[in-house]
Amino acid sequence: MKKVLVAVDSPKGTKEILSLFRNLVSSPEDVILLHVEQLEGNSMMTAMLGEAEMTTLKDSLRGTEHKEALDRKAEKVLAHYRKELESGGVGHVRTMVREGHPSEEILRAAHEEGVDLIIVGCSGKSRWRRYLTGCASREVEKSAKVPVLIAKGNGCGEHARLWSGREAYVIR
């Protein structure tokens, strides 16, 4: 395998991603670590913004404290993962920061770099929160053209199963 794109959000998923490289996937030549800055925070507005508005938002945020804080966070997260991956003996690691809609930026970066596999974490959001705020891993899974590996953390999936609609009908 040549190139892998790993999308990281926070240092929380470190253990899971490292263990993937240790056991599951064959060692790649190139690892691209991507962090996408969500300019609009967790608001849902981003799904309603077209390209033009997004560019305006990017422009107007340039140089502000909010943007600087985002940059610092991005740098911190990426440096953390890079160190962990390199000490884990995973090939050549390159970092990348994008701004905008996470799933779209992940897909775009994957396309531009011609990667063989995309690795994303699982947010572990519950059903309703997921409907409201969306879920990057699902969007990526849906539209990617290369295989997508969804890493799982502790307790991930538990919540989802608890609330899957069918369970409500089970008579015990």
């Binding site: 599951l24 390209e51 699982c122 899974e141 539209s143 053209k145 295989p147 799982k152 999936g157 089970v170």
Partner: protein, 169 residues
């Protein structure tokens, strides 16, 4: 890596799981090939059946021609993939047939067999079709506790997302 669960059905999407073993994942010691028979066909009713109703449905279908047809189909599919995997150099391939709701059975088998990775194909369903009939890979991804690889077939068309509609050319 020790155990991997691969879920297959008769759709084209499942073919893509074969390519995953080519170069992406390390060769596992054991592969479990799973096919889930959908007793209710493609009807949406299944989501409304509780465990009790589902087992009644299973019982009443036992021995019918319909069930035999499903069994034959399952065997055909599993043999097809087993041959492909063994041809690709995987030694220990175990096949397994279950009945019921695909995503739930996949998650259940994954737990029972203690696998380290689940591999499913992506149906490539879009929009309304996906919303109405559901998508196995999505449900598996949601409820699984181990990593999931969603394999992709090469000839998939570019999807048209909702957001795209908002872009002014």
């Amino acid at each position: 890596m020790k155990k991997v669960l691969v879920a297959v059905d008769d759709t084209k999407a499942s073919e893509s799981v074969v390519s995953v073993f080519d170069n992406l994942v390390r060769p596992p010691e054991e592969v479990i090939l799973l096919h889930v028979e959908r007793l209710e066909g493609r009807s949406l009713m299944i989501d409304m059946l509780g465990e009790a109703e589902l087992s009644t449905l299973k019982e009443s279908l036992q021995g019918t021609e319909y069930k035999e047809e499903l069994d034959r189909k399952a065997e055909r599919i599993l043999n097809h993939y087993k041959k492909k995997f063994e041809h690709g150099g995987l030694i220990c391939v175990k096949t397994m047939v279950r009945e019921g709701i695909p995503s739930e059975e996949i998650a259940r088998v994954a737990e029972e067999e203690n696998v380290e990775l689940v591999i499913v194909g992506c149906s490539g369903k879009q929009g309304l079709n996906r919303l109405i009939t559901g998508c196995v890979s999505k449900d598996v991804e949601r409820s699984s506790r181990v990593p999931v690889i969603v394999a992709k077939s090469n000839e998939e068309e570019a999807p048209c997302g909702l957001r795209e509609a908002a872009i002014i050319p």
